[in-house]
Amino acid sequence: MSGLEVNGLNKSFGGLTVCKDVTFELGPGDRKALIGPNGAGKTTLANLITGIAPPSSGTIRLDGRDLRGLREPQRVRAGIAKTFQITTLFKRLTVRENIRLGVSERKRQGLKLLRRADGDRATEAEVAELMHQFRLTRHADTTVENLAYGQQRLIEMALTLALHPRILILDEPAAGVPTSENHLIVEAIERLPKDLAVLIIEHDMQLVFKVARSIIVLVNGAILTEGTPREISRDRQVRDLYLGAGHG
């Protein structure tokens, strides 16, 4: 099949199991959210998919191809990209340079020594397009460290999208963003390419219910249930375990 297939994934550190027999699929156009209380293993799962950590057992396939043994940069090139929970942008580079870096590294121009980084017309057009899409054009030549947090989250997404992923993992895209700016993030997610497969890891239930069409609930490293937002909001188990505890 096309898209991401995660099958029977396990991960343990020492005696502690942080990921238990996780199985799910993520196809083109999907908007799936991964929710669960703190310590449920959401970030671990994301790290297993992006290749930062190897699983103890189980398989991850992209378009039917087993990703075992591929490290982070290779998986990025295969089409899996992830935004960071805490921004690790290139703080002293401008917005334009940040995104340009994403585009030029995707195009494998990183070893080109003798032409200007801003001299490739196709690259510049793409950078401009991404800045436009995320409403960043106004800040193009501002260094990232001088921008508000909400804006940095948008750059984060633009930079990741510059890698032309087919699977996009958004790790807490609204973390640290003031509630008043949350709509910026929601709008940005809604404007993502329609055929992109998106997995959103998020705490903020309101945001999840706005953007996700399907929700996976993770508890203690295992999938508790998966369903549409409507099903999840009515699920008694989820209410007790997660929503009840979190919003009680």
Binding site: E72, T88, F90, E105, R106, K112, R115
Partner: protein, 316 residues
């Protein structure tokens, strides 16, 4: 992007200074040439340290290897200066590539120690390989042919001066191109956030080795220049002090902006020249105070002073 003529101002200033100094200090050309050679060396360090953020105290490893390679090349193979420079560049790049494979996986203190250890090993190898390198007596008997078969190296050092200046200018121009390229942008990206570079699919380790190798080639050119112009290579080319002083000069001028290397070297070596002539022992007081002063009060180096003043003026 059309070329902006104002961008050429610093280059014209450097050119004018070189011409002016040539006529004002005709008997100090040897010293001025040493400055030019050091500029090449520190420019190479700027690529590694200023742009890619690789903290090293062993940059002399590549300079020294370039110097010995060029010296031996002149004695045993060909006394043509340009071929000698190429030999120095290849040797510097080769040693950087090999040591970079070991070093570029490490960070912080471990990286510093590895960089120092590599230079020390090379110094000791050069010391023990006496039949080849002359050991502690230095490598002697280097005689260069005229540059391009036209300009003979003379006693006062006129040819050496313009030769070194030309090489310095070419290296500066080349580095200006490189730091503005996608490669240069990726070096800055690694400096800012290696984790993010990995997350956008860059093989960071391989890229670092590539940057280090390129810088090694340039440092090798600097060493080769020194060997050719002074007709001597001593063990000092590998010394820790040589590496450390290069770092000091770079930070004094300002890292990651190329012209900082030019400014830092010129200022440091001039002060050293004057102070050491007066009182060589208390020179360390001056350099110690200078270093602390820069680190504490102008952390961005001399190139950062105008910006700091401007911010002060705007009341920020």
């Amino acid at each position: 992007m059309s070329p902006n003529p104002r961008r050429l101002v610093p280059d014209l200033v450097i050119l004018a200074a070189a011409v002016g100094l040539f006529f004002v200090f005709p008997y100090d050309l040897a010293f001025l040439t040493r400055i030019l050679i050091m500029v090449v060396f520190v420019l190479s360090l700027d690529l590694v340290l200023g742009y890619a953020g690789i903290a090293t105290l062993g940059h002399a490893a590549m300079y020294g290897t370039g110097a010995y390679a060029a010296g031996l090349f002149a004695i045993h193979v060909s006394a043509d200066p340009l071929l000698g420079l190429a030999a120095g560049a290849v040797a510097g790049a080769a040693i950087a590539a090999v040591s970079g494979l070991i070093m570029m996986r490490a960070h912080g203190l471990t990286l510093l120690m590895l960089s120092i250890a590599v230079a020390q090993v090379l110094q000791e190898v050069a010391n023990k390989a006496r039949p080849v390198t002359g050991g502690a007596d230095g490598l002697r008997g280097i005689r260069m042919e005229p540059v391009l078969g036209i300009w003979e190296f003379d006693f006062i050092g006129r040819t050496g001066y313009w030769y070194a200046f030309t090489v310095m200018a070419l290296v500066l121009v080349m580095l200006k191109v490189v730091v503005a390229s996608p490669f240069g942008l990726s070096a800055r990206g690694i400096h800012e956030s290696p984790a993010r570079m990995r997350a956008i699919g860059t093989p960071v380790y391989a890229r670092l080795v590539a940057i280090y190798t390129l810088a090694g080639g340039i440092a090798g050119v600097a060493g080769a220049l020194a060997a050719q112009v002074t007709s001597l290579v001593s063990l000092e080319v590998y010394s820790f002090e040589h590496s450390a002083e290069a770092v000091i000069m770079l930070v004094l001028g300002g890292t990651g902006r190329l012209y900082g290397a030019v400014l830092g070297v010129a200022l440091f070596m001039t002060v050293e020249h004057l102070a050491a002539a007066v009182d060589p022992f208390n020179w360390l007081f001056i350099i110690g105070a200078l270093v602390l002063g820069v680190v504490f009060f102008v952390p961005a180096g001399l190139m950062g002073v105008p910006g700091a003043l401007a911010r002060l003026g705007r009341g920020r």
